[in-house]
């Protein structure tokens, strides 16, 4: 694990224009950015486009970003960039749109394999509103606190709690219907 001093030194080098240092900063935060974007957008290609834009914005704003708040800054910009990208027409998925499994299996236990579960979760995120999705991705998938999510999204904790609870209910209903259809 990299020490905070070392991390600060790398970021300072990146601020001074050292591209190899900036590449190191990207390596440290690329999972955060790409996975958040992937969960918000649902397509890897779109998530890569979003990640590219996020890191370019980071490079342009390096002098303004404080090292301790870098992760929160990246989350916020990722959410904003994904919001901009989603203005383009995107496929929406309802339960009717869920593809049939490759091989029908009557055993529900075997249906809930890891791959199937991941697929169901990915699809469930698509039925959420944009704000609900951002709140639940940051709160439940990224594991941030309600307070952190509220600061990143620029809203109150009460609003975030409301968005997260609605999102969880919708996800649960989606998963229940999804696996009921499979059985």
């Amino acid at each position: 694990m990299e020490m905070p001093e070392e991390r600060s030194r790398v970021i300072e080098s990146a601020k001074a224009g050292d591209l190899s240092a900036f590449e190191q900063v990207m390596r440290e935060h690329e999972r955060l950015v790409l996975m958040t974007a992937l969960r918000l957008l649902g397509r890897l290609e779109d998530a890569q486009d979003a990640s590219q834009e996020v890191f370019l914005r980071l490079y342009r704003n390096l002098s303004k970003v404080e090292t301790p708040t870098l992760a929160a800054w990246l989350y916020r910009v990722t959410v904003n960039v994904c919001h901009d990208l989603r203005r383009k027409p995107a496929p929406t998925a309802g339960i009717e749109d869920v593809p049939e499994p490759v091989a029908a299996d009557p055993d529900p236990q075997r249906l809930t394999t890891e791959a199937e579960r991941r697929r169901a979760l990915t699809l469930s995120l698509r039925v959420l509103s944009e704000k609900e999705r951002a709140a639940v991705v940051l709160r439940d998938l990224e594991g941030l606190s309600t307070d952190e999510v509220a600061r990143i999204l620029g809203s109150s904790e009460a609003t975030v709690r409301s968005q997260v609870s609605k999102a969880r209910v919708k996800i649960r209903e989606f998963l229940e219907r999804y696996f009921r259809r499979r059985t």
Binding site: L19, L44, S51, Q52, K166
Partner: protein, 194 residues
């Protein structure tokens, strides 16, 4: 309150995000409602899946590398342009400094010494010691400093119309340095003129 209205509270309860009093209300309802117990159980499972999905589904390293490569490809020309501009700016400053140094060494002083004022008084009638120069001494002759050509000095002496005529003095130097012969001639018309 029907069970649908409990759902969002149960969703927060399962996530441990309810205040103590609100959590107690939910627990009380769950103790009385089988349907909400089933709902809470399903909610618990889906939440666990969501949280465990944090580690799941990481794209292959190649996808991360592709993003890095695209970002660096975008930034590299900017960085090289910035270096080029810095080099240009540094070269310009160095050139300007060199020009300034050269000019400061070769140009006259910014505040030249006051030029000595040579009064052009009428030549004394006697006793002349030596033939006086007829032009003003130049600064470089006095201070040993080269100067740019200056405009001719404006004569400060009134026309000599009102002055008496000067005597013509001729200095004759002999081989003996101790012997100098002066020939003084009155140029005025002693014969009354016309």
């Amino acid at each position: 309150m029907n069970c649908v209205e409990w759902e969002e509270k149960i969703a927060l309860y399962v996530g441990g995000e309810l205040a103590e009093s609100a959590a107690a209300e939910v627990e009380q309802h769950l103790g009385q409602c089988v349907g909400c117990q089933v709902f809470a159980s399903g909610m618990q499972q889906s939440l666990e899946w969501l949280k465990s999905a944090h580690q799941d589904d990481l794209p292959a390293e190649a996808h991360f590398a592709a993003v890095r490569a695209r970002v660096l490809a975008e930034l590299a020309p900017r960085t090289s342009r910035r270096v080029w501009w810095w080099a240009l700016a540094a070269g310009t400053v160095a050139l300007a400094a060199a020009v300034l140094v050269i000019f400061s060494l070769r140009a006259p002083r910014a505040t030249p010494r006051p030029e000595p004022v040579i009064a052009h008084a009428p030549e004394p009638a006697s006793p002349p010691s030596e033939v006086q120069p007829t032009t003003r001494p130049r600064l470089r002759d006095v201070a040993g400093v080269r100067r740019h050509p200056r405009p001719k000095p404006v004569p400060q002496i009134e026309p000599e119309a009102a002055e008496p005529a000067k005597p013509l003095i001729v200095k004759l130097v002999t081989e003996d340095p101790n012997v100098v012969i002066y020939w003084i001639t009155d140029t005025t018309d002693t014969h009354g003129g016309e």
